[in-house]
Every structure is written in structure tokens, then in C-alpha cells.
């Protein structure tokens, strides 16, 4: 679908970042493959969001280099849509690079159909439910010439069942419009259901403490054995399996 898929590239080389005296990320190396779905999980405050901001270029690292090419768009937890624009107008933001108006109209119609919100085209974000808003955000991010999606806990503000639906929705959309995805979450199930590769990050300063490759086809049910296996592996890595996480030390650590 995307014409210039082959140009997308995302590489982190020996990156460290600190806010003042607080070191958030230390000597991180990361290569995101073409069309890969990479999920970053880790304890809260471990620097996941900072890493996304480094990838998107909104902040520059204290040291090291981030190489990126291709159009990168970020999907946020909430409030990423412009509230003064309708659903249609928000999605059109992603189509600004298309010059031909008829082509733009076609693409818009396709995207609205894709997220099943055609009948809400002229609604404003505040008139939609949380799940609908996130679907509009997805459509906008997938619109036009985007190559890489950075997703910053995009479903964590939603209720549990909507979240489950949105995961399936995301898989379906990416099936239609393949993109490279870097997805940050604290939801372990989510990671296990969605990822090609999961990176479990350590406490701050963040380093990769485990890499997990899940090659089961998507969509994966919560009860899929591969998902359960991956969930167990991540839980173990985070010290939350068995009676782990119940000793005083880790309670203090997760504070």
C-alpha cells in the first residue's frame, strides 16, 4: 500500500539520555526491522516514552545517534486529535502530502470505511467515545505516506473490553496497510498479543534486559498458547511470576 515502504529505517546506536542529573536511558542499541511490530514493555517511569520521543525526533539524545528515515507518526494515549477539527478533517491531516483532490477524497473514504466510522465523518472528537477517537487517530496515522508508527500506550486510557477490541482492530488495519510499528505499553497481554518482538526494559536507566520473539500469526487470542507462553516469559522477566514481586525489595523498587 505505502509506496515508499522500503525507505523506512529506524536505528538507535549507543544512545544515552538524561534529564538533568537523572539518567533515563543508558547505552541503548536498537534496530527496528522493516515492517516489524516491536513492543517495548517495562516498569512505569523506566523511560519508554522518552525512548519514543527520541525515535520520533521530538527530543535529541544526550549522547549517541538515532538514525531514521521515512515518515514517522506518533499515536498518543489520548487528546492526540485536534478537537477543533471533525473526524474527516483530522484524517485529512494525514493526507496533506496528496496533491490531487480526487485522490485525496478517495483515500479519505477508504480510511473512513476502514475504521467503520463513515457515519461519524462530520462529528467532532468530543462527540465520540474513547475507542472511536483512537480509531480516528489510527486512521490519521495510517493515512497517506506514513512509514513508521510510534504508539505511546495508545489503548491504555480505554476500558478493558474496548482495549481488547482495539488490539484486533489494529491488527486488521496493519494487515490492510502494513507499517513498521514501535509500540510502548505497560500491558503485558497487549505485548504478547501484538508483537513480533518484545523488548523488556529494566528499571531506570533503561536497558534491554530481555528480547522475546513471537512468531505466531496475528490476530492472536488472549488464550492462544503462544500468547500465554510469552506472557509468562515477560512476567518472569519483570519479576512478577510465581511468588516474585512479593518480596520487600521489589515492592520498594516498583514503589
Amino acid at each position: 500500500m505505502s509506496v515508499n515502504q522500503s525507505t523506512s529505517r529506524l536505528e538507535v546506536e549507543d544512545v544515552s539520555h538524561a534529564y538533568g542529573a537523572v539518567s533515563v536511558i543508558e547505552h541503548l542499541n536498537l534496530v527496528v526491522g522493516e515492517g516489524e511490530f516491536l513492543v517495548l514493555v517495562g516498569p512505569s517511569g523506566c523511560g519508554k516514552t522518552t525512548l519514543l520521543s527520541l525515535l520520533s525526533g521530538h527530543i535529541t539524545p544526550s549522547s549517541g545517534a538515532v538514525t531514521r528515515s521515512g515518515v514517522i507518526r506518533t499515536v498518543y494515549q489520548h487528546d492526540g486529535l485536534f478537537p477543533w477539527l471533525t473526524v474527516t478533517e483530522n484524517i485529512e491531516m494525514g493526507l496533506r502530502s496528496i496533491v490531487d483532490p480526487s485522490e485525496r477524497r478517495m483515500e479519505l473514504g477508504e480510511l473512513l470505511d476502514l475504521i467503520h466510522l463513515g457515519s461519524f465523518a462530520d462529528h467532532y472528537p468530543h462527540q465520540l467515545s474513547g475507542g472511536m477517537r483512537q480509531r480516528v487517530e489510527l486512521a490519521r496515522a495510517l493515512a497517506g505516506d506514513s512509514d513508521i508508527l510510534l504508539m505511546d500506550e495508545p489503548f491504555s486510557a480505554l476500558d478493558y473490553q474496548t482495549r481488547l477490541r482495539m488490539r484486533r482492530e489494529l491488527v486488521r488495519l496493519l494487515d490492510k496497510r502494513p507499517r513498521t510499528v514501535v509500540f510502548v505499553t505497560h500491558d503485558i497481554e497487549e505485548a504478547a498479543q501484538l508483537a513480533d518482538r518484545v523488548l523488556v526494559l529494566s528499571q531506570r536507566p533503561a536497558t534491554v534486559c530481555r528480547q522475546l520473539i513471537i512468531d505466531a500469526p496475528r490476530p492472536r487470542d488472549l488464550t492462544n498458547p503462544d500468547v500465554i507462553e510469552a506472557t509468562e516469559a515477560i512476567l518472569e522477566e519483570l519479576g512478577l511470576s510465581g511468588d516474585g514481586g512479593l518480596d520487600d525489595e521489589s515492592l520498594i523498587a516498583t514503589g
Partner: protein, 287 residues
């Protein structure tokens, strides 16, 4: 064992129902249950009516001397006379004209100034104390200068109203811009909004609700100031009308003008409030 139980569940509980918008049932499109317009006008109407009734009774029962408080009836008669003589219409037009000019100048300079200051923290630090300083000087204090600089006619009144409204509009716009959530600018960057696009398609619409509110507040100030502003250098206008009536000891006419000023202020505020019903700014009032 577990598996067979799962299969016995009704299919509707499965998370895979994606033929419909996934959560259309919880969707918004707020259903407001407002009472009918007639019904909602009843309480304020009753309050205003009782106010006039009390006023009437106070005068009718001679609780206050006629020369201290004209009765509603004498005000009504005076009003009719003023309308017939053409004074009232002329004064209304004169005042509206001055307010419109001054208010437009304040908006045209105040909103861009606010936008500029809101985007530049250094400029804000430099200018805000000065702006606040002027904001707290009553426009009445400028009367001597208004006469000295602008002599007579519309100009001194326009100047005074401008001095009263420019600073609040500027400061409100500035504060609104400075408080735009940073996420909008991050999104704008992702979608290549730069330069004038960024200003007109992101910054400006993001503060539009607050600008409308500040215009309403500023209009209120302008309308209040008109009485004082037209006491100098003017030969007509609602403010001048009150001044003139006072000089002629015609309190009935003065009260008539007060009623007109209050009513017009209310009407224009309602009109400005209509701006906040624009679909692209509704979000600013519904959070």
C-alpha cells in the same frame, strides 16, 4: 474441560464482533435534555418582572420621594418622549459606533499581540509586568489625556474604550496560547505544519474558545466604560445622555438611559455568546 465451557458461552460476549463500529453503543453525541425555550425564559422573566413591581410599589406607596427615585411610569413617559424626539435612537447609534470602532481596534491589535507573546516566553517575561501595570489603571484616569490629545468628538471616547479593552484581550489571548497543550504541537510536527500553517491551523483554533470568552468580557468592559467615556468631549451617545439628564435634573431620562444601556449590553452579550456555539469551538466549552 475449560474449553468446552468456553464454547457454551453465547457468541455475543466474544471480543470479535467487529461488523459494527466497535463501541457505537457507548458513543457520544450528547443528548441534552434542555427544557423548552419558553419554559427556560420563565424564571429570569419572573425575576425581572418582580424587580419592576417592587420599584413600582416603592414609588406608588411613596416610600421614596419622587425627586429621589423616578417611578417606572415617569421613566416610561420620558423614554417615549426621547424616542419621539429622536434623541434615543441617535444616542444608541453614536454609542454603538464608538464601541464598535474601539472594540475592533482592540481586537485587531490585541489578539495578534497575544498570539505573539504567548509563543515567546522571553517576550512574555519582558512585557507582562508592563501590560499588567496598564491593565490596572482605570480608563477614567486617562480622561485628561483623552481630551488633551483627541479634543472633542468620537476620538476621546474611542481612545478611552480602547485603553479599557486592549490589555485584557491581549493578556487573555497570551495566557491561552501559552497554555496550549504541547501534544498539539507535537502532532502538528508529525503532520508537517510549519510557519503560517502552524499559526492559523493549530495555534489559533486551539485558543479560539478562550479568545471568544475574552471578547465577551472585553465587550462588557467597553459597554460599562461608555458612560464615563462619553462624559467628555461628546455631544451625543448614551453616556452623554445620562450626563445631560443629570445636568438638567431629569432623573427620569437618566433612568431611561440606564435601562437602555443595560438591555443593549445584555443583547450584545447574547449575540457574542452565539460565537461560542460555532461547531469548531464547542469542544472548548464542553470539557
Amino acid at each position: 474441560m475449560v474449553k468446552s465451557e468456553l464454547k457454551a458461552e453465547p457468541p455475543s460476549t466474544s471480543a470479535g464482533n467487529r461488523s459494527l463500529p466497535a463501541d457505537s453503543s457507548t458513543s457520544a453525541a450528547p443528548t441534552s435534555k434542555k427544557p423548552s425555550p419558553v419554559l427556560s425564559l420563565l424564571p429570569p422573566g419572573a425575576v425581572i418582572l418582580s424587580f419592576f413591581l417592587i420599584w413600582y410599589l416603592v414609588c406608588r406607596l411613596h416610600m421614596v420621594a419622587e425627586y429621589n427615585l423616578p417611578s417606572p411610569y415617569t421613566v416610561w413617559v420620558a423614554g417615549l418622549d426621547e424616542i419621539k424626539a429622536g434623541h434615543l435612537a441617535n444616542d444608541i447609534v453614536a454609542s454603538l459606533f464608538r464601541v464598535a470602532i474601539a472594540f475592533t481596534i482592540s481586537t485587531v491589535f490585541g489578539v495578534p499581540a497575544g498570539l505573539a507573546l504567548g509563543q515567546n516566553a522571553a517576550a512574555r517575561t519582558a512585557f507582562v509586568p508592563m501590560l499588567n501595570f496598564f491593565r490596572f489603571i482605570s480608563p477614567l484616569a486617562w480622561i485628561p489625556f483623552a481630551i488633551l490629545w483627541f479634543h472633542i468628538g468620537d476620538k476621546p471616547a474611542v481612545f478611552l474604550i480602547f485603553m479599557a479593552t486592549f490589555f485584557p484581550i491581549t493578556l487573555a489571548t497570551m495566557a491561552a496560547v501559552a497554555n496550549i497543550p504541547s501534544i498539539y504541537f507535537r502532532v502538528a510536527r508529525d503532520y508537517n505544519y510549519t510557519g503560517i500553517d502552524l499559526l492559523t491551523k493549530v495555534t489559533f483554533p486551539a485558543v479560539m474558545p478562550q479568545i471568544i470568552t475574552s471578547l465577551r468580557v472585553a465587550f462588557g468592559i467597553a459597554w460599562v466604560v461608555i458612560v464615563a467615556a462619553e462624559m467628555v468631549g461628546c455631544q451625543d451617545g448614551l453616556g452623554y445622555g445620562i450626563w445631560d439628564a443629570r445636568n438638567g435634573l431629569r432623573l427620569d431620562i437618566a433612568v431611561c438611559y440606564m435601562v437602555v444601556i443595560g438591555s443593549l449590553g445584555m443583547i450584545f452579550d447574547r449575540l457574542l455568546a452565539q460565537l461560542s456555539k460555532l461547531p469548531s469551538v464547542r469542544w472548548g466549552y464542553e470539557r
